[in-house]
């Protein structure tokens, strides 16, 4: 059993030591999200504060049920009943997103902030072709004709390494495999070159060999567009190799925050210590990288 986080750790949990040179693009302060079920109210997220700087790759890590997805959605103003943000603010360009109207938020989402959800089915319209759907995202924020938008979609898809672009653009969501659907979501989320890309468990459920493709794709896309990334995941392996900075959550609260190297070498919170220790042990015990050329098959 994990112990509950002690409050004393919380105050000086921030070891992030970020350089002051990069400006903060999104800041969440003291966010609290409550879920009402029947008559009870459960706090899914409490006292959640985060700062994301330009170009940063931040990992939001925790087990299932710790509130990381809810926290990420709260940053985009996407918490829906029975959940409710009861406290806190989300500062973007000096304004509190949580005080804005839904219509204003929609202008920001999709152009300034992109979202990749875990389950492509919930984000894709089964009745429209992929090309149309991605083009629509582009046209929501740029006043161009459909054909111009489609050309842009085609060039983005090509840039993502897709060979048969025309066929892809004319397919429907149900014809796509998991990995392909995720690529579509990434295209949709980044076509307007957002400042921030939020990805909620984008590789959960995908085959191991496809996970690498998707993560590499996210990495290359955001390098192209200069976006920062908030990646929500439960996989420390992903965090270790893609993130600059890590935020660890437990039971709705942030319990630790640090640069990746620091988190893995000097974890402070008891929970993080256990987590890191067992992951490291597992990784070191079983990870061998065969070096090309040095191994010959044993003679029978």
């Amino acid at each position: 059993m994990w112990e509950m986080p002690s409050r004393t750790d919380m105050d000086d949990r921030d070891q992030s030591g970020e350089g002051p040179s990069n400006s903060v693009i999104l800041e969440g302060r003291n966010i609290q999200v409550v879920y009402h079920s029947g008559e009870r109210a459960v706090a899914a997220v409490e006292d959640f504060s985060i700062r994301i700087r330009e170009g940063e790759f931040v990992g939001l890590v925790g087990e299932s049920g710790c509130g990381k997805s809810t926290a990420a959605l709260a940053l985009l103003g996407l918490v829906r009943p029975p959940g409710k943000v009861v406290q806190g603010m989300v500062l973007y360009r000096g304004e509190d997103l949580l005080r804005k109207l839904e219509s204003q938020l929609r202008m920001i989402r999709g152009s300034d902030i992109g979202l990749v959800v875990q389950n492509p089915n919930s984000a894709l319209n089964p009745l429209l072709t992929i090309g149309t759907q991605i083009a629509n995202v582009y046209r929501d924020h740029h006043p161009v004709s459909k054909s111009v938008a489609l050309k842009r979609v085609a060039s983005v898809l090509k840039g993502m390494g897709i060979d048969d672009v025309r066929r892809w653009m004319n397919s429907y969501p149900h014809q796509l495999s998991g990995g392909m659907a995720q690529r579509v979501l990434i295209a949709m989320a980044t076509i307007n070159e957002p400042k921030l890309l939020v990805a909620d468990e984008p590789t959960t459920g995908l085959d191991v060999t496809v996970q690498g493709q998707i993560l590499d794709l996210i990495q290359s896309r955001v390098q192209e567009t200069g976006s920062a990334v908030l990646l929500v995941t439960h996989d420390l392996g992903i965090v270790a190799h893609y993130c600059d900075r890590v935020v660890v959550m437990l039971s709705g609260r942030i319990i630790e925050e640090a640069q990746v190297q620091v988190l893995f070498s000097m974890p402070r919170h008891p929970y993080t210590k256990k987590l890191v220790a067992s992951s490291l042990e597992q990784a070191r015990a079983t990870h061998h990288i065969p070096t090309a050329g040095f191994h010959r098959p044993q003679p029978p």
Binding site: M160, G212, G237, P297
Partner: protein
């Protein structure tokens, strides 16, 4: 096939399983001619990605799915075509632990009844005897007696899996097939279940067939490993050999795709292009040909046979013969995609 035929508890010969795919004459070729054996007391890990057929193999072993062709020998008894009646006594000797812990328990049955069901069918114990045995079993899986009177919905994932394990070992089986036993569990519950399984194996002298997609778990616990791809065996051998010196390009790519939770380890990866093709219309020739970076002419028209590379280590690749089967790892990531839709 195997050098340990005398001590093998389980032997599978040329197992094939096809499912009708709805329209006309198309089939889902889930398992395409697999042979392997499992020694007494051994843990064989079966690893692979979606569509490789590992779950189907697991279920065929217990005749939960009827094989289309091939033979399954349990303790040298051919169980492939036994009738229900003939199979019944053998069922007490081979059991399964399932992937969905809560889904593997009847929601309307008390834990006590769930564990006692196999006892009712296979032992002559009376009510009192069964109750005692059930309590013993809960003890073995480290749950208190209070759990006997609970319903599955009152259990956590980890607790439900312990009940599932208790049920599986109730009749003192020889073989347990574990189908992704920890994939649905939280990180904290996972290690508890795995250490329980390893302890039980020692204490009760069990043999395991451990099916998983998680390379770390397989790498940490299994004696031998079998890598499957699209219904065939790509590689099989002792864990050390397969993990340290993988011979099949797919195994190499699979192992290299792991992301170890240690930023200090430098990745030497080969990120494969495309995705696993559909199991309907499996193409002629090597099943891996469509994605293999080392594909060449003699990879078609037939699925390569298993080539011996060690005393019990085999891999199905034509390039092993001239030692050109090693992938170049550590290349720059190439997110190019070219899979057909």
């Amino acid at each position: 096939m195997s050098s340990s035929e005398n001590t093998s508890l389980l032997e599978v010969q040329a197992l094939v399983k096809r499912f009708p795919a709805g329209r006309g004459n198309t089939f889902v070729r889930a398992v395409n001619g697999i042979s392997f054996s499992v020694g007494r007391g051994e843990i064989l890990g079966i690893v692979g990605e979606s569509g490789c057929g590992k779950s189907t193999v697991g279920r065929c072993l217990l005749r939960l799915i009827e094989p289309t062709a091939g033979r399954i020998l349990f303790d040298r008894i051919d169980i492939t075509r036994l009738s229900w009646r003939q199979l019944l006594p053998l069922r007490a000797r081979m059991q399964m632990v399932f992937q969905d812990p809560l889904g593997s328990l009847n929601p309307r049955m008390l834990v006590r009844d769930i564990i006692e069901e196999p006892l009712r069918l296979h032992t002559g114990l009376d009510g009192l005897g069964r109750g005692q045995r059930a309590a013993e079993l809960l003890d073995l899986v480290l749950l208190s007696k209070r759990y006997l009177h609970r319903l599955p919905r009152e259990l956590s994932g980890g607790e439900a899996q312990r009940v599932g394990i208790a049920r599986a070992i109730a009749t003192n089986p020889d073989l347990l097939v574990l189908d992704e036993p920890t994939s649905s569990l939280d990180f904290s519950a996972r290690s508890g279940i795995l250490s329980l399984l390893m302890r039980l194996r020692e204490e009760l002298g069990l043999t395991y067939v451990f099916i998983s997609h998680d390379l770390y778990t397989i790498g940490a616990y299994c004696d031998r490993v079998m890598v499957m791809y699209l219904g065939v065996v790509a590689e099989i051998g002792p864990r050390r050999s397969v993990f340290d010196r993988p011979q099949h390009p797919y195994t190499q790519a699979l192992l290299s795709a792991r992301l170890p939770a240690d930023p200090g380890i430098r990745l030497g990866r080969h990120v494969l292009r495309g995705e696993v093709p559909s199991s309907i219309d499996v193409p002629q020739g090597c099943v891996f040909a469509s994605r293999c970076p080392l594909v060449r002419e003699d990879c078609l028209p037939e699925q390569p046979p298993l080539t011996v590379v060690g005393s019990t280590h085999m891999a199905a690749c034509v390039r092993i013969a001239d030692s050109t089967n090693m992938l170049d790892l550590g290349q720059a990531p190439d997110p190019r995609v070219s899979s057909p839709i």
